[in-house]
């Protein structure tokens, strides 16, 4: 229990700091939002008038307080560019990014974990060496390039997947799955490579541990030892990597959504930054930050489930 309270308080402090940083960063950025809305022809008086309407003439502290108090009542302010509540715009976009990220993470786990185990168990054989070399490539190549290659291969050449058409889940389940599959895969590939390498190294390290020798002395098969003894230990560091992969997936979706023209948070973020749509950008960045911190919080809680020793450290 003390462990949870401790983790929860760090969670809250981190979020508060993040909100402060997010807010100040956008104040430092050059360019005035009112000017962007009115266009470069607008004179100083018009700009000042609009700034007053939008509350941009208040002191920074007042602006921050009103933004934060808005957050607690579910009012994230109004987008300067779209002229509608930020919350509505976000709620519209979040499901797209969420589906993309989830699918990508599931792919990472489904492909990365079994392959990592396989490579560790066949260590030293040629299959394992070749796969290890491929993971190097997977880490080195950026996801948007994978995106282009996948579009070229599966959409243009083989015509198996749509490349530019987004289908919502509510319309057609399999259509949606199809439109999410390639971007999720492009996003997952480098994470799969990271997962494989990390899992392989962890398993090989664990194989040298004394408890593995003990397990061998009991006459247990290598398969039994890997799945029942080593993986339990290996999942502790793997969980950390998984938390990082999830955060990375959220960041990576910004680029991939643009490559695949998915109407998610990523494409919205880029548009609203160039439009100096501060209320929208602030809320989005804060949302992503909260999500990342929240995932880390969940990871910390999961440690406790996997590793019985954590209870002592709480």
């Amino acid at each position: 229990m003390r462990y949870i309270i401790y983790k929860l308080s760090t969670f809250i402090v981190t979020i508060a700091l993040v909100s402060l940083i997010v807010f100040s960063v956008f104040q430092v950025l050059p360019g005035r939002p009112a000017q962007t809305i009115l266009g470069i022809d607008a004179d100083e008086q018009q700009v000042a008038q609009l700034e007053k309407e939008l509350g941009l003439d208040q002191s920074l502290w007042e602006q921050y307080i009103s933004w934060i108090s808005g957050l607690f009542s579910g009012d994230l302010g109004e987008s300067l560019k779209y002229q509608q509540p930020v919350i509505d715009i976000l709620l519209d976009r979040i499901p797209v990014t969420f589906s993309l990220a989830m699918l990508s993470i599931v792919l990472t786990a489904l492909i990365g974990i079994p392959l990592g185990i396989f490579i560790a168990r066949t260590d030293g054989k040629w299959v394992s060496t070749i796969l290890s070399m491929l993971t190097q490539l997977g880490i080195a190549i950026p996801s948007f390039w994978f995106g282009f290659i996948l579009i070229l291969l599966f959409s243009v050449t083989f015509k198996l997947f749509p490349s530019n058409s987004y289908v919502p889940w509510s319309e057609d389940f399999f259509g949606a799955l199809q439109s999410f599959f390639l971007p999720a895969l492009a996003l997952a590939l480098s994470n799969i490579a990271i997962m494989i390498r990390y899992l392989r190294n962890t398993i090989l390290d664990q194989m040298k541990m004394d408890y593995v020798r003990t397990a061998k002395c009991k006459g247990l098969s290598e398969r039994w030892i890997v799945y029942r003894h080593i993986l339990r230990n290996a999942f502790i560091p793997i969980l950390t990597i998984f938390g990082m992969i999830i955060a990375d997936t959220l960041g990576g979706s910004i680029i991939i959504e643009n490559v695949f023209s998915l109407p998610g948070l990523g494409s919205l973020l880029i548009q609203s930054i160039s439009a100096r749509d501060f209320p929208l950008v602030q809320s989005m960045v804060l949302y992503i930050a909260v999500l990342v911190v929240f995932i880390n919080f969940l990871v910390d809680l999961l440690y406790k489930v996997i590793d019985p020793r954590i209870r002592l450290k709480g």
Binding site: D210, T214, K218, G219, W224, H229, R232
Partner: protein, 329 residues
């Protein structure tokens, strides 16, 4: 005479390095009989642990048995078995107890399950029966509240309790032979004596046969019937424990016995054998102990001594061979 449980004959174990093969165990022969506890003693690097790993079929990748045989229960030759055959022997026919119980146990696996999985692997009993049998054995090795302990993790137990878990793990498959590799070294003195008591009880009640590796003569004399003295991979002396302690023959055994701390020798500096065990690559053809021996002769440098029987003891030393007067060439 009854047939031995374990019969090791002329065993050579060699390490392969890029620059050649080096013998780490050199023509080692010994037997372990039913309900007998045989100790192995020697300094670090003498091949004690390597011997046990050879019997378990768990030599490191760059080591292999290059000569000799290990006969188990007179039929099975524990050399050139497949991994699958080894798995059916380990835990069931031969099991092992380790020095450091904290690292020998899986930290994230309940201890009861770590014991019972031996039975899950080797028998076809129901899970419930296995669990009952495990708890029964946990009580027999002196673990209180065994039902509750069954679900504990290693870090929740004390060092002595962990070693009892490791011992239960070695016993549960009812093996014919247990190899204990310094099972009391990592424990406090009080816990150590409790564990020794447990071993004595197991010998009497469960009639176990054991190969007991230790460098502590105090421990050995309480548990063992016979002791093998290993030096640089060779068996230099063997005999009943009492004979070896009272009347050691080999200069190396004499040195080991002399270096035991003793109340009678209070105030005197503790005796140590000068020098160290020669590294693997610097062993020569004569007596392995030549460099450090206080009673060495010219012949010891070049000729390896034969093994001589003196009463119940066997010793490999030129002091006791008849060819003592062979002129050195």
């Amino acid at each position: 005479m009854v047939e031995p449980i374990l019969d090791v004959k002329d065993l050579d174990v060699s390490f392969t390095f890029p620059d050649g093969q080096y013998k780490a165990i050199d023509s080692l022969s010994f037997t372990v009989h039913s309900n007998e506890v045989v100790g192995i003693v020697g300094e670090s690097g003498c091949g004690k642990t390597l011997t046990s790993l050879a019997i378990m079929g768990m030599l490191p990748d760059n080591a292999s048995i290059t000569n000799g045989s290990i006969c188990f229960r007179h039929k099975r030759h524990l050399v050139s078995l497949s991994e699958k055959e080894w798995q059916s022997i380990r835990g069931r026919a031969i099991s092992m107890i380790f020095q450091e119980p904290m690292t020998a146990l899986n930290p994230v696996y309940p201890v009861g399950k770590q014991i019972s999985e031996v039975l899950i692997k080797h028998t076809k009993q129901s899970r419930k029966a296995i669990k009952e049998q495990t708890i029964q054995l946990m009580k027999q090795v002196g673990l209180p509240r065994a039902e509750a302990l069954y679900h504990s993790y290693p870090h929740q137990l004390s060092g002595g309790m962990r070693q009892r878990i490791v011992i239960a793990m070695a016993l549960i498959g009812e093996p014919d032979l247990i190899i204990a590799d310094e099972p009391t070294t990592a424990l406090d003195v009080t816990i150590q004596s409790q564990i020794i008591q447990l071993f004595r009880k197991l010998k009497q009640e469960k009639k176990v046969s054991m190969l007991f590796i230790s460098h502590d003569w105090g421990v050995l004399s309480q548990v063992c019937d016979r002791v093998l003295v290993l030096y640089a991979g060779q068996l230099v002396e063997t005999g009943p424990i009492s004979r070896l302690v009272d009347e050691p023959l080999h200069p190396y055994t004499k040195g080991l016995i002399r270096s035991i701390p003793d109340r009678a020798k209070r105030g005197e500096p503790l005796y140590t054998i000068p020098g160290r065990v020669p590294p693997l690559k610097e062993r020569h053809r004569g007596c392995p102990f030549y460099d450090r021996c206080r009673e060495r002769m010219e012949i010891c440098r070049t000729v390896r001594p034969k093994t001589v029987n003196i009463k119940e003891q066997m010793v490999q030393c030129h002091l006791y061979t008849e060819e003592m007067d062979v002129p050195s060439s």
